[in-house]
């Protein structure tokens, strides 16, 4: 019982934090930074507890007598929670300057963010489809509001409406899928689906496959995979920087948490039936994403479109899972982490600049000669771009390497080849920025490095990326990034059958 209370602490803290901020936001005199710090404090404590849990937990159901087997606590869910929490903390701290520079942020913003994180954490813990749906909706609905938070910008409101309508439309398919699954299995528990499939090998499972595919549609929509990617660029550009950052990194991880749980265990026996579809989706995502990314003129748009491409890589590995790759799932988690760090850093620099210079739309041209104006920031940006492009000596390279390895392992050489080709194409739009930063004279004089939480964290993230890339044993006495892969595979082992 005490242990259960301990397990529920992180979620409870996030929820209490949300309530606290909600009530606290009535007080007008509080400075925005303090809201931010309070939020970070709640999240940090929660993170620390999660870290301790991660060491000790194997496979546990929370309050099994009350919740039955709905709430699962294993290493995988804890690992994902750690990622959400650290993602949220980094997002909040990096954007500290940005919050202050805009007048439309207030306490509720942080409350809503915490609600969203609560939804994501719930999603990682859920062992039941209806709870999963509610969690996805909780994470999404609050995000809808956050997307439209900038009430000065019609674009922001437009993005919000687009996101609401399309998100709800896509959400419908999940609940339809759940209904179909329930119709066949008679239960919405994840474990029951698996045991049904094992015990009814001769009966017709078409309906279950259809249900699985419909659920897949929603999940693909939420991570922004083609052909459900059309909203991504518009919504990402329309939302405020912190929200874009949060969506591009943390939300994606959250969706992958349920995706992995579903497709590694419960749907594993019937997953091969829709593999071809996943393959086509992965290829389409890679191609369409990179085409879109090339056409973007705004940096935010480029990062948004390129996030589609990154999803494509992970879908390649998801495909590999179905073909039987042994470490594709770990590769996905590793890739999520690597992408999470790189994108966080890149968006962070954009938001820092946007907060500093009242530049609303950062286009490529704004970065001409950036390296001469702010050499350290440009260096960090270069690291992020290199990592996103998958350049060796960054963590992004390792991420791509593991993904391609897992695909090659299944014998899909052509698919891996396509992935590599797309990676080469991505060099075009990432290196364009590097070239602009370094090969043009700067219109402004050189500026000093601004010491603030945001900038220091950005530099810290950049260092982590390099550590992840070359630290793999090169730096003595420090665990390498390949340790993350081990952690991921350990976590995956605990999900059980």
């Amino acid at each position: 019982m005490i242990w259960d209370l301990y397990l529920v602490m992180p979620l409870a803290l996030v929820f209490i934090g949300a309530l606290f901020l909600m009530l606290f936001s009535l007080v007008k005199q509080v400075e925005l930074t303090n809201y931010n710090l309070v939020t970070v404090a709640f999240l940090s404590v929660s993170l620390i507890i999660e870290l301790i849990i991660f060491q000790n937990v194997e496979h546990d159901y929370l309050f099994e007598t009350i919740f039955a087997k709905m709430f699962i606590v294993d290493k995988l869910s804890t690992l994902f929670n750690i990622l959400f929490l650290s993602g949220a903390i980094l997002t909040l701290l990096i954007n500290n300057n940005y919050f202050k520079s805009r007048d439309y942020y207030n306490g509720e913003f942080f409350a809503l963010l915490l609600f969203s994180i609560f939804g994501m954490m719930m999603l990682a813990h859920t062992n039941e489809l209806i709870t999963a749906f509610i969690s996805i909706e909780l994470a999404s609905i609050t995000l809808y509001v956050l997307v439209g938070y900038n009430h000065h910008s019609p674009k922001s409101s437009e993005a919000m409406l687009k996101y609401i309508i399309l998100g709800s439309l896509a959400g419908v398919f999940f609940i339809l899928g759940v209904a179909l699954v329930y119709g066949v299995v008679g239960s919405t528990y994840l474990g029951d689906i698996y045991s049904y499939l094992i015990h009814h090998q001769n009966s017709d499972i078409s309906l279950l496959v259809v249900g699985m595919m419909f659920m897949m549609v929603t999940l693909l929509f939420k991570i922004g995979a083609a052909p459900f990617h059309s909203w991504v660029v518009d919504v990402y550009i329309g939302s405020p920087f912190p929200v874009t950052m949060f969506m591009a990194t943390t939300l994606k991880i959250a969706i992958f948490s349920i995706l992995l749980r579903l497709f590694l265990v419960d749907f594993a026996p019937i997953y091969p039936l829709i593999l071809e579809i996943i393959k086509v989706v992965a290829i389409a995502t890679l191609l369409l994403g990179s085409l879109l990314a090339i056409a973007q003129t705004q940096l935010k748009g480029m990062l948004a479109a390129s996030s589609i491409v990154h999803v494509g890589y992970m879908l390649m590995a998801l495909y590999a899972i179905g073909v039987g790759s042994s470490f594709a799932a770990s590769a996905i988690i590793f890739y999520l982490i690597s992408y999470f760090l790189s994108a966080l850093g890149a968006f962070g620099i954009l938001s820092f600049l946007a907060s500093d210079e009242e530049k609303r739309h950062l286009s490529f041209d704004d970065f001409k000669g950036f390296a001469h104006e702010r050499p350290y920031m440009a260096a960090a940006m270069t690291i992020f771009m290199l990592s996103l492009a998958g350049f060796p000596s960054t963590i992004g390279f390792l991420g791509k390497f593991y993904i391609f390895m897992s695909v090659v392992e299944t014998g899909e050489i052509l698919l891996a080849g396509l992935g590599i080709l797309i990676a080469f194409i991505s060099i075009y739009y990432y290196f364009k920025l590097i070239a602009l930063m370094y090969f043009y004279p700067s219109p402004n004089p050189k500026k000093r490095f601004p010491f603030a939480i945001s900038t220091l964290l950005i530099v810290g993230v950049a260092l982590m990326i390099v550590w992840g890339g070359i630290g793999t044993g090169l730096i003595p006495f420090v665990a390498g990034a390949d340790g993350l892969l081990t952690i991921a595979s350990e976590a995956l082992k605990t999900i059980g059958k």
Binding site: F221, P227, F228, V233, I277, L291
Partner: protein, 626 residues
């Protein structure tokens, strides 16, 4: 003990980092030279002390129990298990002993030599880095770590040779050193790769290799041995990869002293000695090495005899002496080779530092024929140089006598008479060109005066004195093969000479050296004339056998025209054209696609439903198909 060993390698890198960072941060030049000098000198001094402590502790232990210091596992992928582990056996003990000791003296000397240079801090950052890399190379317990040290040494030498980077010819020289070394490194790394594959994962530390090579075929071993020697050729400047060495004189003189005495060029000899167990299996490759060494020695001596730049004379003499060492290690006399390496470190450092003192005193004049009569103005330098010259010309009882004699005698006793004759000829030439240098610089033009002489400071003179004492005495360590026994390398045995033969050979050596000195005195004792290219053979020598021109024509020009061809035709027209077509098309496609992103929710919703509908069709097909 383990900690001490690790510290020896780590400290120089650490202080190099500190110095480098200080130099970078200190853009306004607030930090004084004293600050840099303190850090730069303390480290080698401590390292020297540590290495002496280790040497004294270790020398009492039996030679087959080396000291290991395991830092961490570097790579652990499948069979590839590379540890960052250091090994201290008798061989590496001798190496770190003299590298740190002579390195420290050169550091002290450099503090004064570089005093007025703007990049003082940078110089010492590189210098400490150089020392650390060399130490890493020497104490590595497996070839991979050794290769890292090897590469770092190459990098450090590149940085230091090009230190006066404002003159473009210096940059060219640095590039040349780097690129020529790269050719050698390629041989090294290929050899390691072949060895690793051949050993099939039995471990890749030196001791594991030693145990593993028994099962390898003779041809594999020969291949590996030959390629390893290609690496050694590059680092130790042997034919045909020696061309970088004279040009490397572009760096500051302390750099030359460090490269030629304690670090860098000794790496090749050390590596062959380290792989002695392997070369003992393939004596024919060893003979090949010995012949390469002998010809390098002879040709370098010939070129030195006609050179007029004081530093280049010394550079060729280094190449020549390295040739001797390769004769020794090629013939399996590893102890003798390492002993010559050891004594050579003393007198070559002394020669370079003496030459540096002369150069500094004369406002960076390097042409020996513009000098003369310096005996009277620079007496300490003169005495030091004289001792070093006597050592290199192997006049007893100076250090070089013992070590060189051991090598020449080994060649004779093992029955390689051709090698012996070449070695003797080279000894004669060595005496000739070294005393030519002494006579021209210190004796000739006995009336010449130097009104604007720069006085030499203590930090230049004292290291000279210490090294002079060393050059005079360290040879006694080699009496009765004491040194070779101590190092305990797997020497190949030779028939023991009779006493008469031994004394005969010794006398012959001394006679040859004296002959060279006499010839030098006769030609250059009073009124030296610069060499003139009046007969073809002399022109050949003066122009270094046209090797540079040949290499330029053969490799540089062909490569350049090839790359121009690739740049203009293949890359410019073919690849860029195709890529341009492809990327252009792709970009247009992207723009077209982006126009589908028209921003209306209705369209987007239609896309979603349409996609689901297509997926449904596919699923119906798939369900039917199963």
């Amino acid at each position: 003990m383990e900690a001490l060993l690790s510290l020896i390698v780590i400290l120089p890198f650490l202080s190099a980092t500190i110095l480098g960072l200080s130099y970078l941060v200190d853009s306004k030049k607030n930090l004084s030279n004293t600050y840099y000098a303190t850090i730069a000198l303390t480290t080698p001094a401590i390292v020297t002390l540590l290495s002496f402590v280790l040497v004294f502790k270790m020398s009492t232990m039996p030679h087959d129990t080396p000291l290991y210091a395991h830092l961490f596992d570097w790579v652990k992928v499948g069979q590839l298990h590379i540890e960052m582990r250091f090994m201290l056996d008798r061989l590496s003990m001798i190496m770190i002993g003299f590298i740190t000791f002579i390195g420290t003296l050169i550091h002290i000397y450099a503090v004064e030599y570089m005093q007025s240079d703007e990049g003082f801090g940078k110089f010492f950052a590189y210098f400490n880095f150089f020392l650390g890399s060399m130490l890493l190379l020497v104490v590595a317990s497996n070839p991979i770590i050794m290769f890292i040290g090897w590469e770092l040494v190459g990098l450090a030498s590149y940085l230091l040779i090009g230190f006066y980077h404002k003159v473009s010819s210096n940059i060219t020289a640095a590039n040349k050193a780097f690129i020529v070394n790269r050719v050698g490194d390629f041989g090294f790394i290929v050899a390691l790769g072949v060895l690793f594959i051949a050993l099939e994962g039995q471990g890749f530390s030196f001791e594991a290799i030693e145990q593993g090579i028994g099962g390898l075929s003779h041809s594999t071993l020969s291949f590996v041995g030959a390629l390893l020697f290609v690496g050694a050729m590059g680092k130790s400047a042997q034919i045909p990869l020696y061309v970088w060495l004279p040009d490397a004189m572009a760096g500051p003189t302390p750099v030359s002293a460090l490269i030629h005495a304690a670090t860098m060029v000794t790496a090749g000899v050390y590596m062959v000695a380290r792989f002695g167990f392997l070369y003992n299996e393939i004596p024919h490759i060893g003979e090949f090495i010995a012949y390469i060494g002998a010809f390098s020695a002879l040709i370098a001596a010939l070129m030195a005899s006609f050179e007029r730049d004081i530093k280049k004379i010394l550079a060729y003499s280094t190449m020549s002496q390295l040739g001797y060492m390769f004769i020794a290690v090629g013939l399996g006399a590893y102890g003798a080779g390492i002993f010559h390496l050891f004594t050579h470190a003393f007198f070559k450092a002394l020669l370079f530092m003496g030459a540096g003192a002369v150069i500094i005193a004369l406002h960076h004049e390097q042409d020996i024929f513009k000098m003369g009569n310096l005996r009277k103005v620079l007496p300490q330098t003169f005495i030091a140089m004289l001792i070093a010259t006597l050592a290199i010309t192997s006049i007893p009882p100076f250090a070089g006598f013992f070590s060189k004699e051991a090598i020449i005698n080994h060649a004779f006793l093992s029955g390689h008479y051709t090698l012996w004759i070449i070695a003797m000829t080279t000894a004669f030439l060595t005496a000739y060109y070294m005393f030519r240098l002494i006579f021209v610089v210190f004796f000739a033009h006995s009336t010449k005066t130097y009104p604007h002489l720069i006085p030499l400071g203590k930090m230049i003179i004292y290291p000279l004195i210490v090294l002079a004492i060393g050059s005079a005495t360290v040879g006694f360590l080699g009496i009765e093969h004491g040194f070779a026994h101590f190092v305990a390398l797997p020497d190949r045995a030779t028939p023991a000479p009779t006493h008469l033969l031994e004394y005969g050979l010794m006398g012959l050596n001394i006679l040859v050296a004296l002959g060279g000195i006499a010839l030098a005195y006769r030609l250059f004792g009073t009124n030296p004339e610069p060499p003139k290219a009046n007969i073809p053979i002399k022109a050949l020598f003066i122009h270094k056998f046209y090797v540079d021109a040949l290499y330029n024509r053969l490799f540089v020009d062909t490569l350049r025209s090839l790359s121009i061809f690739f740049d203009r035709v293949v890359d410019g027209a073919v690849i860029d054209g195709i890529l341009g077509l492809l990327t252009g098309g792709y970009k247009d496609l992207g723009a077209k696609l982006a126009s589908f992103q028209n921003g209306t929710v209705k369209t987007y919703a239609t896309y979603v439903i349409l996609s689901v509908s297509l997926m449904s069709l596919a699923l119906i097909y798939l369900l039917e198909a199963q």
